[in-house]
Symmetry: C2
Subunit: 342 residues, 2 copies
Amino acid sequence: MAHTLEEIAKLAGVSRSTVSRVINDHPNVRPEVRERVWQVIREVGYQPHAAARSLATNRTQVLGLIIPQAVTTLFTDPFFPHLIQGMAEACNAHRYHLMLSLFTGRTDQESLYRRVLRSGTLDGVVVASTTLDDPLIPRLLQEKLPFVSVGRHREAAVSYVDVDNVAGARQAVEHLLRQGHRRIATVTGPLAMMAGRDRLEGYRQALEARGVPVDDALIAEGDFTEEGGRMAMQRLLPHRPTAVFVASDTMAVGAMKAIKEAGLRIPEDVAVVGFDDLPVASIVEPALTTVRQPIERLGATAVEVLIGLIEQQAEAPQHIILPTQLVIRASCGALSGSRGLE
Amino acid sequence: MAHTLEEIAKLAGVSRSTVSRVINDHPNVRPEVRERVWQVIREVGYQPHAAARSLATNRTQVLGLIIPQAVTTLFTDPFFPHLIQGMAEACNAHRYHLMLSLFTGRTDQESLYRRVLRSGTLDGVVVASTTLDDPLIPRLLQEKLPFVSVGRHREAAVSYVDVDNVAGARQAVEHLLRQGHRRIATVTGPLAMMAGRDRLEGYRQALEARGVPVDDALIAEGDFTEEGGRMAMQRLLPHRPTAVFVASDTMAVGAMKAIKEAGLRIPEDVAVVGFDDLPVASIVEPALTTVRQPIERLGATAVEVLIGLIEQQAEAPQHIILPTQLVIRASCGALSGSRGLE
DNA sequence: GGCGGTTTTGGGAGCGCTCCCAAAATCGCC
DNA sequence: GGCGATTTTGGGAGCGCTCCCAAAACCGCC
């Protein structure tokens, strides 16, 4: 049975303003009054009405996660549950709620953007998985709603949290080079996305730093799905790479399938390195050498930056890059079952 | 720049009541007035303020998903992202928002329950993954907040949506029996959960229907994690089963690891059947024969039942059981790579 | 006790919407 | 045109909270 603040005031023998001051931790309430009010609150199990608070304060304590792409192609990527886990924990720790907004197609997008961004429902949003031409970020800038992008963004005004995709990819390719490989292919992420581009850039940098010429025939674009990885690998195999850096673990699973279907062995005929260190990396056979990105920490950091933007009204955009780490397994450079870090 | 309903009324030359009647599709507005108001709304990009509507109507258009267990042990199970995907799409289709409430431990649980259930934030909740002794469902009944359980529940007053765990498990074990197996083990889910119990019941029923005695030494309880599955399988192997029904794909991955670590072959030495048909079922080697449960449809159905409870004020609890389907792969009864349905 | 300064308290009003009921307008019939 | 019935419209008030400012209370000093 819901109680109102006025009822608590009556039960405690004070005014509604005093009750408000108590629950919002304002000064200028005598300690014995404060304690009396808290006692009534505890006995009654009073919980303030969220909408009333929101209408009065213009704050909701709710953060949104917006994933603009079609859920059938992206949300089944295990990256997102881990991101959400990190975000949910950070929200809980700061007494915020997390609301999911997943878009299922372009047809309803404008209507859903308007509903989500303009109804006063959210204090701010975390945006994940935008393409470079997605209208969402200009829209958010226009609405003046605080937001943080998960993934690097070109606009200086955009706060973002990302991992060091360039350095991570470079590390992966350097590992292949140290293993003696010179004919190294890559399955990129979508080049319409910044992560896709950055991981390709790391691949290039590693080759060029060792004076290995970059061969466009050894570059095939994937779409971050397992099937896309398999098809991209099929396009690369006629060019006889001895190794491949695949820009996500999910695509690496597909690439490994293509290699095996061609009757080739991993790592003897084609060594494979992925990117993410999803749980599937240790389930496939041979277990996948990959670049670990701290996905949960990415989500948690995005939430913390966003809360900072909301509560401090900070003007300066923040750019945070988290480190990656190479995890060596059997697909390249380790004995079966071992778990080496570099 | 947010506009108020009063501003729209001024611009359209009508009262606030007329604007309210227009946006809420009430009768008794002249068509030309209605069109004039919509034109102003479109030009201005007006979106009603959610908190104000909520305060006036006692409705939020927000549904919660509550997963009471610690996220570090359950949310990484791929069952949940698929459930969420189905829910999110159903919410979008009905113009509701989906809010996630993940609990990170028992210490903050009471506080978070109170905040989530008593602040007027949610119109209703979907509850997933409760144990039989979890206080959440009695709490929800007490609060009178509409809710739907994902997973069968013993209380007749509880609406739920589930798959036919008993029949699915029976189907899996019947498949093993048809393959000639008689020494069939099982890794159960947690027996504190209804799904854990129902899948064990299906295992029992299939054996008893063929006059095969149930041997308790061939039953080991797991906890729905990969590691739990591996350890349960290690306990079963000394009893020399020729086949095993594992109550989830995630645990089956662990069981397969234990079998291989013991130097045994799948399916020649030990045949394996899982439950879920998660994506990992076709990634492991050999690919896993498993019982497919329509997880997305489970989520979508739960949302639809819940919206029905909220909007129709239905008094009668609903119990919906979705069918399962056996998917035959190489871990038991199929040639490598084929995808047979039965 | 009186005074000035500071702390504490209470009540009005506003946040942006919905609903109710009385007033105004319209309609159809005679 | 008048009448009764029906439709349309507008303004007050309420939803539950926060904030502001005036009033009341308290404190310390002379």
